[in-house]
Protein backbone atom coordinates (compact mmCIF):
# COMPACT_ATOMS: atom_id res chain seq x y z
CA UNK A 1 0.00 0.00 0.00
CA UNK A 2 1.51 3.28 -1.14
CA UNK A 3 1.43 6.30 1.10
CA UNK A 4 2.21 9.86 0.07
CA UNK A 5 4.40 11.70 2.57
CA UNK A 6 3.30 15.34 2.85
CA UNK A 7 6.71 16.88 3.61
CA UNK A 8 9.08 14.53 1.80
CA UNK A 9 6.72 14.75 -1.21
CA UNK A 10 7.38 11.20 -2.27
CA UNK A 11 5.15 8.19 -2.32
CA UNK A 12 6.50 5.11 -0.59
CA UNK A 13 5.20 1.74 0.41
CA UNK A 14 3.74 1.83 3.89
CA UNK A 15 4.96 -1.66 4.72
CA UNK A 16 8.50 -0.78 3.67
CA UNK A 17 8.48 1.98 6.28
CA UNK A 18 6.91 -0.19 8.97
CA UNK A 19 9.46 -2.89 8.15
CA UNK A 20 12.37 -0.43 8.26
CA UNK A 21 11.16 0.89 11.60
CA UNK A 22 10.73 -2.69 12.77
CA UNK A 23 14.24 -3.79 11.79
CA UNK A 24 15.81 -0.75 13.42
CA UNK A 25 13.61 -1.23 16.50
CA UNK A 26 14.63 -4.88 16.66
CA UNK A 27 18.31 -3.94 16.61
CA UNK A 28 17.84 -1.18 19.17
CA UNK A 29 15.96 -3.55 21.47
CA UNK A 30 18.65 -6.17 20.94
CA UNK A 31 21.64 -3.90 21.48
CA UNK A 32 20.31 -0.98 23.50
CA UNK A 33 21.16 1.74 20.98
CA UNK A 34 18.82 4.38 19.60
CA UNK A 35 19.10 3.06 16.08
CA UNK A 36 19.30 6.52 14.55
CA UNK A 37 22.60 5.68 12.89
CA UNK A 38 20.80 2.97 10.89
CA UNK A 39 17.51 4.64 10.11
CA UNK A 40 18.95 7.73 8.45
CA UNK A 41 21.08 5.89 5.84
CA UNK A 42 18.20 3.47 5.22
CA UNK A 43 15.87 6.39 4.57
CA UNK A 44 18.39 7.84 2.08
CA UNK A 45 18.40 4.46 0.42
CA UNK A 46 14.64 4.32 -0.18
CA UNK A 47 14.68 7.80 -1.69
CA UNK A 48 13.69 10.13 1.13
CA UNK A 49 15.43 13.51 0.63
CA UNK A 50 18.46 13.69 3.01
CA UNK A 51 17.25 16.78 4.86
CA UNK A 52 13.89 15.15 5.59
CA UNK A 53 15.54 11.86 6.57
CA UNK A 54 17.84 13.58 9.07
CA UNK A 55 15.11 15.71 10.69
CA UNK A 56 12.59 12.88 10.84
CA UNK A 57 15.24 10.49 12.14
CA UNK A 58 15.71 12.83 15.11
CA UNK A 59 11.98 12.72 15.77
CA UNK A 60 12.05 8.93 15.73
CA UNK A 61 14.93 8.91 18.22
CA UNK A 62 12.72 10.94 20.61
CA UNK A 63 10.14 8.17 20.64
CA UNK A 64 12.61 5.35 21.18
CA UNK A 65 14.50 7.19 23.94
CA UNK A 66 11.31 8.07 25.83
CA UNK A 67 10.48 4.43 26.44
CA UNK A 68 14.12 3.73 27.35
CA UNK A 69 14.36 6.61 29.83
CA UNK A 70 11.10 5.61 31.52
CA UNK A 71 12.48 2.14 32.16
CA UNK A 72 15.84 3.46 33.39
CA UNK A 73 14.23 6.05 35.71
CA UNK A 74 12.41 3.24 37.49
CA UNK A 75 15.74 1.52 38.11
CA UNK A 76 17.19 4.83 39.37
CA UNK A 77 19.92 4.49 36.76
CA UNK A 78 19.82 8.11 35.60
CA UNK A 79 22.34 10.67 36.90
CA UNK A 80 20.13 13.72 36.44
CA UNK A 81 22.71 16.47 37.29
CA UNK A 82 25.20 14.85 34.90
CA UNK A 83 22.42 14.52 32.34
CA UNK A 84 21.65 18.24 32.67
CA UNK A 85 25.29 19.26 32.16
CA UNK A 86 25.48 17.05 29.08
CA UNK A 87 22.17 18.51 27.95
CA UNK A 88 23.35 22.13 28.15
CA UNK A 89 26.35 21.14 26.04
CA UNK A 90 24.10 19.14 23.75
CA UNK A 91 21.76 22.03 23.04
CA UNK A 92 24.67 24.39 22.31
CA UNK A 93 26.14 21.76 20.02
CA UNK A 94 22.83 21.04 18.35
CA UNK A 95 22.22 24.71 17.51
CA UNK A 96 25.72 24.86 16.06
CA UNK A 97 25.17 21.61 14.22
CA UNK A 98 22.01 22.86 12.52
CA UNK A 99 23.87 25.97 11.44
CA UNK A 100 26.63 23.78 9.96
CA UNK A 101 23.99 21.56 8.38
CA UNK A 102 22.34 24.50 6.60
CA UNK A 103 25.70 25.85 5.49
CA UNK A 104 26.76 22.50 4.05
CA UNK A 105 23.37 22.07 2.36
CA UNK A 106 23.91 25.36 0.57
CA UNK A 107 27.40 24.35 -0.45
CA UNK A 108 26.08 21.03 -1.77
CA UNK A 109 28.38 19.08 0.50
CA UNK A 110 25.87 17.85 3.06
CA UNK A 111 25.75 14.31 1.71
CA UNK A 112 29.53 14.12 1.86
CA UNK A 113 29.68 15.54 5.39
CA UNK A 114 27.02 13.15 6.66
CA UNK A 115 28.69 10.19 4.96
CA UNK A 116 32.13 11.13 6.26
CA UNK A 117 30.79 11.50 9.80
CA UNK A 118 29.19 8.09 9.54
CA UNK A 119 32.26 6.38 8.12
CA UNK A 120 34.69 7.89 10.61
CA UNK A 121 32.62 7.57 13.76
CA UNK A 122 30.90 4.29 13.04
CA UNK A 123 34.13 2.72 11.82
CA UNK A 124 36.11 3.87 14.84
CA UNK A 125 33.52 2.88 17.40
CA UNK A 126 32.76 -0.41 15.69
CA UNK A 127 36.42 -1.39 15.76
CA UNK A 128 36.83 -0.32 19.39
CA UNK A 129 33.76 -2.26 20.43
CA UNK A 130 34.85 -5.34 18.54
CA UNK A 131 38.31 -5.26 20.09
CA UNK A 132 36.87 -4.78 23.59
CA UNK A 133 34.29 -7.54 23.22
CA UNK A 134 36.73 -10.04 21.76
CA UNK A 135 39.22 -9.35 24.56
CA UNK A 136 36.57 -9.85 27.26
CA UNK A 137 35.40 -13.04 25.62
CA UNK A 138 38.94 -14.40 25.50
CA UNK A 139 39.45 -13.57 29.17
CA UNK A 140 36.27 -15.39 30.10
CA UNK A 141 37.46 -18.44 28.16
CA UNK A 142 40.74 -18.41 30.06
CA UNK A 143 38.77 -18.14 33.27
CA UNK A 144 40.68 -15.17 34.68
CA UNK A 145 38.65 -12.56 36.55
CA UNK A 146 37.94 -9.23 34.94
CA UNK A 147 40.77 -6.88 35.77
CA UNK A 148 39.83 -3.97 38.00
CA UNK A 149 40.19 -0.65 36.29
CA UNK A 150 42.66 1.74 37.91
CA UNK A 151 41.43 5.25 38.59
CA UNK A 152 43.57 7.34 36.32
CA UNK A 153 44.48 10.86 37.31
CA UNK A 154 44.85 12.79 34.12
CA UNK A 155 44.60 16.42 33.02
CA UNK A 156 40.82 15.99 33.22
CA UNK A 157 41.00 16.08 37.01
CA UNK A 158 42.92 19.35 37.16
CA UNK A 159 40.18 21.45 35.50
CA UNK A 160 38.20 24.03 37.52
CA UNK A 161 34.42 24.16 38.25
CA UNK A 162 34.35 20.84 40.06
CA UNK A 163 31.00 19.38 40.95
CA UNK A 164 29.85 16.30 42.84
CA UNK A 165 27.79 13.90 40.66
CA UNK A 166 26.29 11.66 43.34
CA UNK A 167 24.67 8.94 41.23
CA UNK A 168 27.89 8.47 39.27
CA UNK A 169 30.09 8.78 42.34
CA UNK A 170 32.26 11.34 40.59
CA UNK A 171 33.82 14.62 41.71
CA UNK A 172 34.95 16.22 38.48
CA UNK A 173 34.91 19.50 36.59
CA UNK A 174 31.81 20.27 34.53
CA UNK A 175 33.97 21.16 31.51
CA UNK A 176 34.60 17.63 30.13
CA UNK A 177 30.91 16.59 30.28
CA UNK A 178 29.99 19.94 28.72
CA UNK A 179 32.43 19.33 25.86
CA UNK A 180 31.19 15.78 25.37
CA UNK A 181 27.65 17.18 25.27
CA UNK A 182 28.58 19.78 22.65
CA UNK A 183 30.32 17.23 20.45
CA UNK A 184 27.36 14.85 20.59
CA UNK A 185 24.92 17.71 19.92
CA UNK A 186 26.78 18.78 16.76
CA UNK A 187 26.88 15.21 15.46
CA UNK A 188 23.23 14.62 16.38
CA UNK A 189 22.15 17.59 14.30
CA UNK A 190 24.33 16.75 11.31
CA UNK A 191 23.77 13.01 11.28
CA UNK A 192 20.19 12.91 12.56
CA UNK A 193 21.13 10.52 15.33
CA UNK A 194 20.76 10.59 19.08
CA UNK A 195 24.49 10.11 19.40
CA UNK A 196 24.23 7.27 21.90
CA UNK A 197 26.89 5.28 20.15
CA UNK A 198 29.35 8.15 20.68
CA UNK A 199 28.05 9.27 24.05
CA UNK A 200 28.23 5.88 25.76
CA UNK A 201 31.94 5.21 25.06
CA UNK A 202 32.76 8.85 25.89
CA UNK A 203 31.04 8.58 29.25
CA UNK A 204 32.76 5.33 30.11
CA UNK A 205 36.25 6.07 28.85
CA UNK A 206 36.54 9.88 29.10
CA UNK A 207 34.40 10.63 32.14
CA UNK A 208 34.95 7.30 33.95
CA UNK A 209 31.26 6.98 34.75
CA UNK A 210 30.06 3.65 36.18
CA UNK A 211 28.40 1.52 33.50
CA UNK A 212 25.14 1.14 35.41
CA UNK A 213 24.21 4.84 35.06
CA UNK A 214 25.69 5.36 31.60
CA UNK A 215 22.80 4.07 29.48
CA UNK A 216 20.07 5.83 31.48
CA UNK A 217 21.93 9.14 31.60
CA UNK A 218 22.83 9.00 27.94
CA UNK A 219 19.21 8.27 27.00
CA UNK A 220 18.04 11.13 29.24
CA UNK A 221 20.34 13.54 27.45
CA UNK A 222 19.59 12.11 23.99
CA UNK A 223 15.86 12.51 24.58
CA UNK A 224 16.16 16.25 25.13
CA UNK A 225 18.82 16.91 22.50
CA UNK A 226 16.92 15.05 19.79
CA UNK A 227 13.69 16.79 20.84
CA UNK A 228 15.46 20.12 20.49
CA UNK A 229 17.00 19.07 17.16
CA UNK A 230 13.59 18.01 15.85
CA UNK A 231 12.08 21.33 16.86
CA UNK A 232 14.91 23.32 15.29
CA UNK A 233 14.67 21.38 12.02
CA UNK A 234 10.88 21.81 12.04
CA UNK A 235 11.15 25.57 12.56
CA UNK A 236 14.12 26.47 10.36
CA UNK A 237 13.87 23.94 7.54
CA UNK A 238 10.31 22.54 7.73
CA UNK A 239 11.73 19.10 7.08
CA UNK A 240 10.13 16.95 9.78
CA UNK A 241 7.68 14.58 8.14
CA UNK A 242 5.25 13.56 10.85
CA UNK A 243 3.63 10.88 8.69
CA UNK A 244 7.00 9.27 8.01
CA UNK A 245 7.96 9.53 11.69
CA UNK A 246 4.72 7.93 12.82
CA UNK A 247 5.18 4.86 10.59
CA UNK A 248 8.80 4.43 11.65
CA UNK A 249 7.85 4.78 15.31
CA UNK A 250 5.03 2.25 15.11
CA UNK A 251 7.32 -0.27 13.42
CA UNK A 252 10.14 0.66 15.77
CA UNK A 253 8.38 0.16 19.08
CA UNK A 254 7.09 -3.25 18.06
CA UNK A 255 10.53 -4.26 16.81
CA UNK A 256 12.18 -2.98 19.99
CA UNK A 257 10.03 -5.18 22.19
CA UNK A 258 10.73 -8.26 20.07
CA UNK A 259 14.41 -7.35 20.04
CA UNK A 260 14.68 -7.04 23.81
CA UNK A 261 13.13 -10.52 24.20
CA UNK A 262 15.53 -11.99 21.66
CA UNK A 263 18.37 -10.20 23.40
CA UNK A 264 17.59 -11.88 26.70
CA UNK A 265 18.51 -15.23 25.11
CA UNK A 266 21.97 -14.13 23.92
CA UNK A 267 25.11 -13.49 25.96
CA UNK A 268 26.11 -9.86 26.47
CA UNK A 269 29.51 -10.34 24.85
CA UNK A 270 28.06 -12.11 21.83
CA UNK A 271 25.61 -9.24 21.46
CA UNK A 272 28.40 -6.71 21.56
CA UNK A 273 30.36 -8.52 18.88
CA UNK A 274 27.27 -8.67 16.68
CA UNK A 275 26.60 -4.97 17.20
CA UNK A 276 30.24 -4.14 16.49
CA UNK A 277 30.09 -6.12 13.24
CA UNK A 278 26.84 -4.41 12.24
CA UNK A 279 28.32 -0.99 12.90
CA UNK A 280 31.45 -1.87 10.90
CA UNK A 281 29.38 -3.16 7.98
CA UNK A 282 27.36 0.07 7.82
CA UNK A 283 30.55 2.13 7.99
CA UNK A 284 32.25 0.01 5.32
CA UNK A 285 29.27 0.27 2.98
CA UNK A 286 29.18 4.06 3.29
CA UNK A 287 32.95 4.22 2.95
CA UNK A 288 32.91 2.21 -0.26
CA UNK A 289 30.29 4.57 -1.69
CA UNK A 290 32.76 7.40 -1.20
CA UNK A 291 35.71 5.58 -2.71
CA UNK A 292 34.13 3.75 -5.64
CA UNK A 293 33.24 5.65 -8.77
CA UNK A 294 29.55 6.62 -8.52
CA UNK A 295 27.11 5.18 -11.03
CA UNK A 296 26.21 8.67 -12.20
CA UNK A 297 28.65 11.52 -11.61
CA UNK A 298 25.83 14.03 -11.77
CA UNK A 299 23.14 14.63 -9.19
CA UNK A 300 20.30 17.11 -9.05
CA UNK A 301 18.64 18.94 -6.21
CA UNK A 302 15.58 21.10 -6.48
CA UNK A 303 16.07 24.63 -5.29
CA UNK A 304 18.61 27.19 -6.35
CA UNK A 305 22.21 27.53 -5.41
CA UNK A 306 22.76 29.18 -2.05
Amino acid sequence: MQIYLPIAEVSVNMFTLLGLGGIVGLLSGLFGVGGGFLITPLLFFIGIPPSVAVATGANQVVASSVSGVLAQLKRKAVDIPMGLVLLVGGILGSAGGIWVFNLLTQLGQIDLAVQLCYVVFLGLIGLLMLQEAVRTLQKQRRGTGVRKKRVQHTWVHKLPFKFKFRASGLYISVIPPLLVGIAVGVLAAIMGVGGGFIMVPAMIYLLNMPTKVVIGTSLFQILFVSAFTTLMHAITNQTVDVMLALLLIVGGVVGAQIGSRLGARLKAEQLRILLALLVIIVAAKLGLDLILRPHDLFSITTGGEG
Binding site: I3, Y4, S11, A63, L290, F298, I300, T302, G304
Partner: protein, 268 residues
Protein backbone atom coordinates in the same frame (compact mmCIF):
# COMPACT_ATOMS: atom_id res chain seq x y z
CA UNK B 1 -14.71 1.70 -16.19
CA UNK B 2 -14.02 5.45 -16.00
CA UNK B 3 -11.75 5.16 -18.99
CA UNK B 4 -14.44 3.49 -21.06
CA UNK B 5 -16.90 6.25 -20.25
CA UNK B 6 -14.39 8.89 -21.16
CA UNK B 7 -13.58 7.27 -24.44
CA UNK B 8 -17.22 7.14 -25.40
CA UNK B 9 -17.47 10.77 -24.36
CA UNK B 10 -14.53 11.61 -26.60
CA UNK B 11 -16.14 9.80 -29.48
CA UNK B 12 -19.46 11.51 -28.85
CA UNK B 13 -17.80 14.90 -29.11
CA UNK B 14 -17.90 14.95 -32.91
CA UNK B 15 -21.64 14.63 -33.04
CA UNK B 16 -22.14 17.34 -30.46
CA UNK B 17 -21.19 20.70 -31.94
CA UNK B 18 -22.80 22.61 -29.07
CA UNK B 19 -20.45 21.03 -26.58
CA UNK B 20 -17.55 21.56 -28.90
CA UNK B 21 -18.08 25.29 -29.05
CA UNK B 22 -18.02 25.52 -25.30
CA UNK B 23 -14.58 24.01 -25.08
CA UNK B 24 -12.96 26.00 -27.91
CA UNK B 25 -10.03 28.11 -26.77
CA UNK B 26 -10.91 31.78 -26.54
CA UNK B 27 -7.44 33.01 -27.60
CA UNK B 28 -7.57 30.95 -30.76
CA UNK B 29 -10.89 32.42 -31.87
CA UNK B 30 -10.07 36.01 -30.93
CA UNK B 31 -8.01 36.73 -34.06
CA UNK B 32 -8.57 35.34 -37.50
CA UNK B 33 -9.91 31.84 -37.04
CA UNK B 34 -7.58 29.17 -38.40
CA UNK B 35 -9.03 26.79 -41.00
CA UNK B 36 -8.83 23.98 -38.53
CA UNK B 37 -9.40 24.32 -34.80
CA UNK B 38 -8.78 22.13 -31.80
CA UNK B 39 -11.69 21.26 -29.63
CA UNK B 40 -10.47 19.45 -26.56
CA UNK B 41 -11.21 18.29 -23.08
CA UNK B 42 -9.45 16.71 -20.14
CA UNK B 43 -10.68 13.71 -18.26
CA UNK B 44 -10.23 15.75 -15.09
CA UNK B 45 -9.17 19.29 -14.33
CA UNK B 46 -7.86 18.69 -10.85
CA UNK B 47 -5.91 16.00 -9.03
CA UNK B 48 -6.00 15.72 -5.29
CA UNK B 49 -2.95 14.29 -3.59
CA UNK B 50 -4.36 12.26 -0.77
CA UNK B 51 -2.51 10.06 1.70
CA UNK B 52 -3.04 7.04 -0.53
CA UNK B 53 -2.03 8.90 -3.73
CA UNK B 54 -0.31 6.49 -6.07
CA UNK B 55 0.01 8.33 -9.34
CA UNK B 56 -2.84 9.28 -11.60
CA UNK B 57 -4.07 8.87 -15.13
CA UNK B 58 -5.05 11.74 -17.34
CA UNK B 59 -6.84 11.37 -20.63
CA UNK B 60 -6.60 14.33 -22.95
CA UNK B 61 -8.97 14.05 -25.88
CA UNK B 62 -10.33 16.22 -28.61
CA UNK B 63 -11.31 16.72 -32.17
CA UNK B 64 -10.38 18.90 -35.13
CA UNK B 65 -13.15 21.29 -36.07
CA UNK B 66 -13.25 22.37 -39.73
CA UNK B 67 -15.28 25.06 -41.51
CA UNK B 68 -13.92 24.01 -44.90
CA UNK B 69 -13.14 20.59 -46.38
CA UNK B 70 -9.96 19.00 -45.09
CA UNK B 71 -6.78 19.84 -47.03
CA UNK B 72 -5.64 16.42 -48.16
CA UNK B 73 -2.15 17.21 -49.43
CA UNK B 74 -0.60 18.10 -46.04
CA UNK B 75 -0.06 15.56 -43.31
CA UNK B 76 -1.91 16.15 -40.04
CA UNK B 77 -0.14 15.65 -36.72
CA UNK B 78 -0.96 16.31 -33.08
CA UNK B 79 1.39 16.85 -30.15
CA UNK B 80 0.16 16.98 -26.57
CA UNK B 81 2.38 18.19 -23.72
CA UNK B 82 1.82 18.14 -20.00
CA UNK B 83 4.07 20.37 -17.92
CA UNK B 84 4.40 20.54 -14.13
CA UNK B 85 5.23 23.71 -12.17
CA UNK B 86 8.61 25.29 -12.89
CA UNK B 87 11.24 25.40 -10.20
CA UNK B 88 14.96 26.05 -9.80
CA UNK B 89 17.25 23.04 -9.98
CA UNK B 90 20.91 22.67 -9.12
CA UNK B 91 22.91 20.09 -11.03
CA UNK B 92 26.11 18.95 -9.36
CA UNK B 93 28.99 16.93 -10.66
CA UNK B 94 31.23 14.73 -8.57
CA UNK B 95 34.91 14.33 -9.15
CA UNK B 96 37.66 12.58 -7.31
CA UNK B 97 39.45 14.65 -4.68
CA UNK B 98 41.89 13.10 -2.19
CA UNK B 99 40.65 9.63 -3.10
CA UNK B 100 36.96 10.25 -2.46
CA UNK B 101 34.15 11.41 -4.70
CA UNK B 102 33.06 14.95 -3.90
CA UNK B 103 30.64 17.40 -5.51
CA UNK B 104 32.95 19.88 -7.17
CA UNK B 105 31.09 21.69 -9.94
CA UNK B 106 27.54 22.87 -10.21
CA UNK B 107 25.18 24.56 -12.64
CA UNK B 108 21.93 26.19 -11.63
CA UNK B 109 18.87 26.16 -13.84
CA UNK B 110 16.45 28.96 -12.94
CA UNK B 111 13.34 27.15 -14.06
CA UNK B 112 12.87 23.55 -15.08
CA UNK B 113 9.49 21.82 -15.00
CA UNK B 114 9.07 19.32 -12.19
CA UNK B 115 7.27 17.08 -14.67
CA UNK B 116 7.21 17.16 -18.45
CA UNK B 117 5.64 14.69 -20.81
CA UNK B 118 5.31 14.94 -24.56
CA UNK B 119 3.03 12.66 -26.55
CA UNK B 120 3.11 12.80 -30.33
CA UNK B 121 1.20 11.18 -33.14
CA UNK B 122 4.47 10.33 -34.91
CA UNK B 123 8.25 10.76 -34.74
CA UNK B 124 8.77 14.35 -33.53
CA UNK B 125 11.50 15.17 -36.04
CA UNK B 126 9.15 14.28 -38.91
CA UNK B 127 6.04 16.08 -37.73
CA UNK B 128 7.46 19.20 -36.08
CA UNK B 129 9.31 22.06 -37.75
CA UNK B 130 12.36 22.91 -35.56
CA UNK B 131 11.43 26.60 -35.74
CA UNK B 132 8.00 25.90 -34.30
CA UNK B 133 9.67 23.75 -31.65
CA UNK B 134 11.99 26.59 -30.60
CA UNK B 135 9.18 29.09 -30.60
CA UNK B 136 6.75 27.00 -28.59
CA UNK B 137 9.35 25.05 -26.51
CA UNK B 138 7.82 21.68 -27.22
CA UNK B 139 10.53 18.99 -27.14
CA UNK B 140 11.97 17.97 -23.78
CA UNK B 141 15.42 19.67 -23.99
CA UNK B 142 13.66 22.98 -24.66
CA UNK B 143 11.46 22.68 -21.60
CA UNK B 144 14.27 24.00 -19.41
CA UNK B 145 14.45 27.74 -19.02
CA UNK B 146 17.40 30.07 -18.44
CA UNK B 147 20.41 29.33 -16.28
CA UNK B 148 20.47 31.01 -12.92
CA UNK B 149 23.51 33.12 -12.20
CA UNK B 150 26.78 33.04 -14.09
CA UNK B 151 27.88 29.68 -15.41
CA UNK B 152 31.12 28.68 -13.72
CA UNK B 153 31.81 25.58 -15.75
CA UNK B 154 33.37 25.51 -19.21
CA UNK B 155 30.70 23.37 -20.77
CA UNK B 156 27.20 23.35 -19.33
CA UNK B 157 25.88 20.81 -21.82
CA UNK B 158 26.77 17.67 -19.82
CA UNK B 159 24.97 19.22 -16.85
CA UNK B 160 21.71 19.92 -18.64
CA UNK B 161 21.90 16.51 -20.29
CA UNK B 162 22.32 14.98 -16.85
CA UNK B 163 19.22 16.79 -15.62
CA UNK B 164 17.18 15.36 -18.49
CA UNK B 165 18.69 11.90 -18.03
CA UNK B 166 18.05 11.77 -14.28
CA UNK B 167 14.51 13.11 -14.55
CA UNK B 168 13.77 10.67 -17.38
CA UNK B 169 15.03 7.83 -15.20
CA UNK B 170 12.75 9.00 -12.39
CA UNK B 171 9.83 8.94 -14.81
CA UNK B 172 9.39 12.69 -14.51
CA UNK B 173 10.33 13.59 -18.08
CA UNK B 174 8.79 11.45 -20.73
CA UNK B 175 8.67 11.39 -24.51
CA UNK B 176 5.97 9.17 -25.96
CA UNK B 177 6.24 8.84 -29.70
CA UNK B 178 2.93 7.53 -30.95
CA UNK B 179 1.26 8.44 -27.67
CA UNK B 180 -1.38 10.45 -29.53
CA UNK B 181 -3.88 8.35 -31.42
CA UNK B 182 -5.65 10.02 -34.31
CA UNK B 183 -8.84 8.55 -35.71
CA UNK B 184 -10.01 9.57 -39.20
CA UNK B 185 -7.83 12.68 -39.08
CA UNK B 186 -10.43 14.18 -36.74
CA UNK B 187 -10.49 12.60 -33.33
CA UNK B 188 -7.44 12.31 -31.13
CA UNK B 189 -6.62 11.15 -27.66
CA UNK B 190 -3.53 10.88 -25.46
CA UNK B 191 -3.15 9.07 -22.16
CA UNK B 192 -0.72 10.22 -19.49
CA UNK B 193 0.39 8.27 -16.48
CA UNK B 194 1.36 10.73 -13.78
CA UNK B 195 3.96 9.36 -11.34
CA UNK B 196 3.36 9.08 -7.59
CA UNK B 197 6.04 11.62 -6.67
CA UNK B 198 4.19 14.65 -8.02
CA UNK B 199 4.75 18.14 -6.73
CA UNK B 200 1.90 20.55 -6.18
CA UNK B 201 0.94 23.20 -8.66
CA UNK B 202 -0.78 23.89 -11.95
CA UNK B 203 0.04 21.40 -14.67
CA UNK B 204 -0.13 23.10 -18.04
CA UNK B 205 -1.62 21.12 -20.89
CA UNK B 206 -0.88 22.17 -24.46
CA UNK B 207 -2.18 20.64 -27.66
CA UNK B 208 -0.56 21.52 -30.98
CA UNK B 209 -2.26 20.83 -34.27
CA UNK B 210 0.29 20.61 -37.08
CA UNK B 211 0.17 20.31 -40.84
CA UNK B 212 3.51 19.44 -42.44
CA UNK B 213 5.34 20.62 -39.35
CA UNK B 214 3.64 24.03 -39.36
CA UNK B 215 1.46 25.12 -36.48
CA UNK B 216 -2.22 25.34 -37.42
CA UNK B 217 -3.84 25.76 -34.03
CA UNK B 218 -3.03 25.32 -30.39
CA UNK B 219 -5.03 24.80 -27.25
CA UNK B 220 -4.08 25.37 -23.64
CA UNK B 221 -5.59 24.30 -20.39
CA UNK B 222 -4.46 23.50 -16.86
CA UNK B 223 -4.86 20.73 -14.37
CA UNK B 224 -4.68 21.72 -10.75
CA UNK B 225 -2.66 19.33 -8.59
CA UNK B 226 -3.15 19.96 -4.88
CA UNK B 227 -2.59 18.13 -1.68
CA UNK B 228 -5.95 17.63 -0.03
CA UNK B 229 -7.32 16.50 3.30
CA UNK B 230 -4.75 15.41 5.86
CA UNK B 231 -1.85 16.03 3.45
CA UNK B 232 -2.94 19.64 2.90
CA UNK B 233 -3.46 20.20 6.60
CA UNK B 234 -0.07 18.81 7.63
CA UNK B 235 1.79 20.64 4.88
CA UNK B 236 0.16 23.97 5.71
CA UNK B 237 0.77 23.47 9.41
CA UNK B 238 4.44 22.57 8.87
CA UNK B 239 5.03 25.71 6.83
CA UNK B 240 2.80 28.26 8.49
CA UNK B 241 2.90 27.21 12.12
CA UNK B 242 6.29 25.52 12.17
CA UNK B 243 6.78 25.72 15.95
CA UNK B 244 3.37 24.23 16.64
CA UNK B 245 3.98 21.50 14.07
CA UNK B 246 7.35 20.70 15.64
CA UNK B 247 5.76 20.45 19.08
CA UNK B 248 3.02 18.25 17.66
CA UNK B 249 5.59 15.88 16.14
CA UNK B 250 7.40 15.74 19.47
CA UNK B 251 4.22 15.13 21.42
CA UNK B 252 3.36 12.30 19.07
CA UNK B 253 6.81 10.75 19.48
CA UNK B 254 6.75 11.07 23.29
CA UNK B 255 3.26 9.63 23.45
CA UNK B 256 4.18 6.73 21.14
CA UNK B 257 7.27 5.95 23.20
CA UNK B 258 5.34 6.04 26.45
CA UNK B 259 2.40 4.07 25.05
CA UNK B 260 4.65 1.36 23.62
CA UNK B 261 6.36 0.87 26.97
CA UNK B 262 3.01 0.87 28.80
CA UNK B 263 1.28 -1.54 26.41
CA UNK B 264 4.08 -4.08 26.46
CA UNK B 265 4.30 -3.90 30.25
CA UNK B 266 0.58 -4.63 30.33
CA UNK B 267 0.96 -7.55 27.89
CA UNK B 268 3.62 -9.10 30.07
Amino acid sequence: MIRATLLSLALALTSLPAMAQEATTPDATATKAPPEQIVAGLSRDNIGITTSFDGSQILIYGAVKREAPEPTDEKLAVIVTLEGPLGPVTIRKKSREFGIWVNTASVGVAAAPSYYAVATSGPIEEILDPRVDTQQRISIPLAMRAFSGPIEVEDSKPFTEALLRIRERQGLYEMETGGVHIVDNTLFRADFELPANLTEGDYKTRIFLLRDGKLVDQYQSAIEVRKIGLERWLYTLAHQKAALYGLLSLALAVFAGWAAAAIFRFVR
